[in-house]
């Protein structure tokens, strides 16, 4: 066909477009600054009373022995864990909502959280990764998981098995987004039932330990685990970002995406498998943390729109900010008790989600 003639950008059109893009970049920069501020606030939150100056000195390697120990051994792993896990859950939620064409898709929709919980329950109750009762008050203080590695491994296996099951089930009749969502609902229901059955035959201490595990705990992961989550999240981010225009095309529907040359039959299952791997690893190391994967993409859609060039990095940063803020709230609300992070994200996330629905009438 005749090529479209190359017409120089009219000054107004060019200016408008560049202003529009600059605004999105500014939002991303503001989110990055906010994530850093939340990280510093999280380093400062706690009972030791460290000042910002002492924290910065410790970070630069010039702090006292005590402040360095608190910052690097106690608080920094927690901050890094929140950054990595928040980013992973939010980014995967954003991609799952796109490829499943469902605004309610997240690790829970896929059944990953339920699968991981089932894995943890089996390891604690059936395999004997078990518990011991310590001195102290409160259920959380008296319960300890004796073999955290085994629990993590079983939780990961549960999460990843869920995904494999969903992908296989949906493959039987062709992997359409709706079949994946329905398979996710069915498999998560299966695992929830399995967890209930396993708990039914266990004693009360073991049941309490399983429940404690599902609360979620950012302090559970060590540097090795955080490194693994971070590497996987980074690799997934690179994959998703390389396909950002393909995700934009998928927003227009599967047929339109195919007609634009998007390899839909590869991209949808590949994205799902990557999301499942990253969320399974995250859930296995820190427990069930709900709502981050669901709410972060919706908040960011309102700020940067549905353009995945900006939505992917914005959602990733938003997830980190949300989880860091929730973790700060967990530690400062009723000191010295550290509230369970999973419960708090649900507690804060649900009203925020309802507000977003009421504000615009519907989630798009």
């Amino acid at each position: 066909m005749k090529k479209i003639p190359k017409v120089p950008l009219s000054e107004k059109s060019g200016r408008l477009y560049h202003r529009y893009i600059r605004r999105k970049w500014l939002i991303l920069l503001a989110l990055a600054a906010l994530a850093m501020a939340a990280g510093l606030a999280s380093l400062r939150a706690g009972s030791s009373g460290l000042t910002l100056k002492e924290i910065l000195a410790a970070l630069a390697g010039k702090g006292t022995k005590q402040s360095s120990a608190i910052v690097w051994n106690v608080r920094m792993p927690r901050v890094a864990s929140a950054l990595a896990v928040g980013a992973a859950l939010a980014m995967c939620g954003c991609i799952m909502q796109n490829v499943l064409r469902n605004p309610l898709a997240s690790a829970s929709t896929l059944g990953v959280s339920q699968g991981a919980s089932f894995g943890a329950a089996v390891s604690i109750i059936c395999i004997g990764a078990g518990t011991q009762i310590n001195a102290g008050s409160g259920a959380a203080a008296s319960l300890t998981i004796t073999h955290p590695g085994l629990v993590t491994l079983c939780a990961f296996c549960g999460g990843i098995t869920t995904t494999i099951l969903i992908l296989c089930l949906s493959r039987l009749k062709g992997a359409t987004p709706s079949s994946m969502v329905l398979a996710g609902v069915a498999v998560s229901s299966l695992f929830s039932g399995g967890t209930t059955l396993v708990q039914y035959f266990a004693d009360d201490v073991m049941v309490a330990t399983v429940v404690y595990w599902t609360f979620g705990n950012l302090g559970r992961a060590g540097w090795g685990e955080i490194g693994l989550i971070a590497i996987l999240t980074l690799a997934a981010f690179v994959f998703f970002f390389l396909h950002r225009w393909n995700y934009n095309a998928l927003e227009s529907g599967m047929h339109t995406a195919k007609s634009l040359g998007v390899p839909v039959s590869f991209l949808v299952p590949a994205s799902m498998a990557i999301c499942a791997l990253v969320t399974s690893v995250s859930v296995a190391f820190v427990g069930c943390i709900s709502f981050i994967g669901l709410i972060a993409p919706h908040i960011m859609r309102r700020l940067v729109g549905n353009d995945f060039r900006f939505l992917i990095p914005a959602t990733t940063l938003c997830g980190s900010i949300l989880l860091l803020s929730s973790d700060i709230a967990c530690r400062v609300l009723i000191p010295p008790v550290v509230l369970p992070i999973g419960a708090l994200t649900s507690f804060l996330g649900a009203p925020l989600f309802l507000y977003l629905i009421m504000r615009r009438g519907s989630i798009k």
């Binding site: 066909m1 009219s10 477009y17 529009y20 927003e251 007609s259 040359g261």
Partner: protein, 251 residues
């Protein structure tokens, strides 16, 4: 130029298309006509391999589409679906998607220039940063047309582009399609139900009946007998001011 040779397609055991053949030249606008369920949409989605035909061969400028990679196919054949899923995105971002088959890392200034030029051509440049959900049906179809045209295709497939438009927008849309097809030498295959709209703006007419090609040719093939056979209704073809119109009688 596009050539369809003996295309066959089934959904499971239900045969939708059998032995459909069609040929159209560059710059021609071909109306695909027939009752609901005749296989019109299936036929055009077989052309750009959204659906894989079981039998037959499709050639664009003599090259079989089954040998083309996804990108190459998208550079040759563009498609506008019957229903557009609207995302929270701007008009310009939507049209930029049409440059996806040419993108390497991201959009270039050339891509941006071509998209803005196309938006200007279809009269939508002033809406470039407006959200798609704020557009009317007619404006939206023009945006989708612009997105398909920035793919710089040889063949443009339109699945009922006027089905949700008012009469004024229907005529405007079809006039624009015809104009662009002639101007850029694109073969347009358009699935359409309105016979009068087709008679006015299309060069050739392909009637499908029960998944088979019933007849194909210029406006001479549109006769009362064909309308009776394909649609099961009485229709008369009249001529007013040199233009052919179809007057539907009884069912």
């Amino acid at each position: 130029m596009i050539e369809l040779r003996h295309i066959g397609f089934s959904y499971g055991k239900t045969r939708i298309l059998s032995d459909v053949s069609l040929e159209a030249r560059a710059g021609e606008c071909v109306a695909i006509l027939g009752n609901n369920g005749a296989g019109k949409s299936t036929l055009i989605t077989c052309i750009n391999r959204i659906r894989q035909p079981e039998k037959g061969e499709i050639l664009v400028d003599g090259r079989p589409v089954r040998r083309m990679g996804r990108r190459e196919l998208a550079q040759n054949v563009a498609y506008v679906a019957q229903k557009n899923e609207l995302s929270q995105t701007t008009v310009l971002d939507c049209v930029l998607l049409g440059r996806r088959p040419y993108m390497k890392w991201g959009i270039s200034s050339e891509d941006l220039e071509k998209c803005l030029a196309m938006l200007r051509r279809v009269g939508m440049e002033r809406f470039q940063l407006r959200n798609l959900s704020e557009m009317s049906g007619g404006e939206l179809q023009k945006v989708m047309l612009a997105r398909a045209l920035v793919q710089e295709p040889k063949v443009l497939l339109l699945d009922e582009p006027t089905s949700s438009l008012d009469p004024k927008n229907q005529y405007e849309m079809m006039a624009l399609v015809r104009e662009l097809a002639h101007e850029r030498h694109i073969t347009v295959l358009v699935v359409i139900h309105d016979l009068n709209l087709a008679m006015r703006y299309c060069d050739r007419f392909f009637f499908l009946k029960d998944g088979k090609g019933y007849c194909y040719g210029d406006s001479q093939v549109v006769t009362s007998q064909v309308i009776q056979d394909v649609y099961g209704i009485c229709g008369h073809v009249a001529e007013i001011d040199g233009k052919k119109i179809v007057v539907i009688g009884s069912v």
